[in-house]
Subunit: 271 residues, 2 copies
Amino acid sequence: MRDAGIGVFDSGIGGLTVYKALRETLPVGERLLYLGDTARVPYGAKSDETVARYALEGARFLERRGIKALVIACNTMSAVALPELQRALKLPVVGVIGPGAEAACRTTKRRVIGVVGTATTIKSGAYARAIATHLPDARVVGRACPLFVPLAEEGWVDNEVARATAALYLGDLTAEGIDTLVLGCTHYPLLAGVIGETVGPDVRLVDSARATAAVVKARLAERALLDDGAPGTVAGSDQFFVTDSAERFRAVGSRFLDGPIDRLEQIDIQG
Amino acid sequence: MRDAGIGVFDSGIGGLTVYKALRETLPVGERLLYLGDTARVPYGAKSDETVARYALEGARFLERRGIKALVIACNTMSAVALPELQRALKLPVVGVIGPGAEAACRTTKRRVIGVVGTATTIKSGAYARAIATHLPDARVVGRACPLFVPLAEEGWVDNEVARATAALYLGDLTAEGIDTLVLGCTHYPLLAGVIGETVGPDVRLVDSARATAAVVKARLAERALLDDGAPGTVAGSDQFFVTDSAERFRAVGSRFLDGPIDRLEQIDIQG
């Protein structure tokens, strides 16, 4: 079982920020299987029921490939479908919200934490609940930012449109007294520059990707499932699966990874 | 057969602009069945193969309900799947691109026509081909505007972000000499104000919805399938189907229609 791969599942391309953090944290010998449900992306404005149904279909696809653990590299899915996935699958399933919330609790001084994410993630209240398990007296201010994903995918991360959008969504967040802002969507780290400018230097940004990678490593080690060897970014045997054509994923994805994506395959998970 | 309903199929909510034009053009007695594939929306950045597969699934769902004609109220689907749908279905299937292109050809004086739409629509070249059948010497300048759909859905149709986005996408279009601009996506009429400001008063905007409604009416009349009676907007017996939860469709949709949406049902078209 220790030789088995680790599944990384996202609605599309944003989860590559988590893939990258895993690659940098885990031993070289670990093999990652990435699935992006690009035919049905985005999940962020869809209902909880639909997201949960899609999540289960994708998770089953990776489970059939014999993985030893599954990382839900998508905030929306983690927000509304994680307990269901943990019940349904007979392997460790790690989402991004728990680790992200914990990192935010370690970061905040004033115990006022902002969270930005998709409409579905924010509406779920999942971050507020996860933060409350560590800091019951913390105040959480959520803000849905639906345009950040299309901006990141368009590559508009440092222009007038990105700045005006960030100002409209986040302009009044500092008045709420936040000192920490969780980037609660895997696309948002691409906009970290503009987001940081808008909320100012006194607000620390928390990206869940790194925190999640550390939790995955610890969880595997606990269960003696971690491959020995040094961490490293050799990704020769990693595989990528998408549900829509590979072409666009390859183009946009290599921008996320700063490098080419090999071993990419279009598959069908419905049914 | 004359008593049967008319199917109106879109990837989501944008097709309601076409629904509205049909309602205003067709006799009161005509009954419309609207399907929005909201669980898999948007189609505009997906591959031709995936869009064609989804299009066929949705069309079959409406066909099983006994419709007498089908309107493809989505530019992306019309651009890449219309011939396939026309082959597969045994009833008249009308898309929005043919009527929109014809309306543009009637409008242009200088025979230089701009077309804005989703990445998939523009890449398909479907408007340029349809325009060439009427005006072979016209020049067509296409421009993909991926952010316009999320802007329209966010309701940001008249703010700084909308203006900056329109300026980036369309700022240089007038230098190309266009005198006509086709709004080649059913969401874009909501942004017509900002788009019009950006391209200036000398460029006429063409919205395919009205042109499509006229073609549908003529096509039904030709085949003696048109209900008698005056045109009108009574929509009491119309039905709406969506593949994701009805809640968001109801909220955003009533903004598109300036009125409430009754008889709305969530269904499953995968099968």
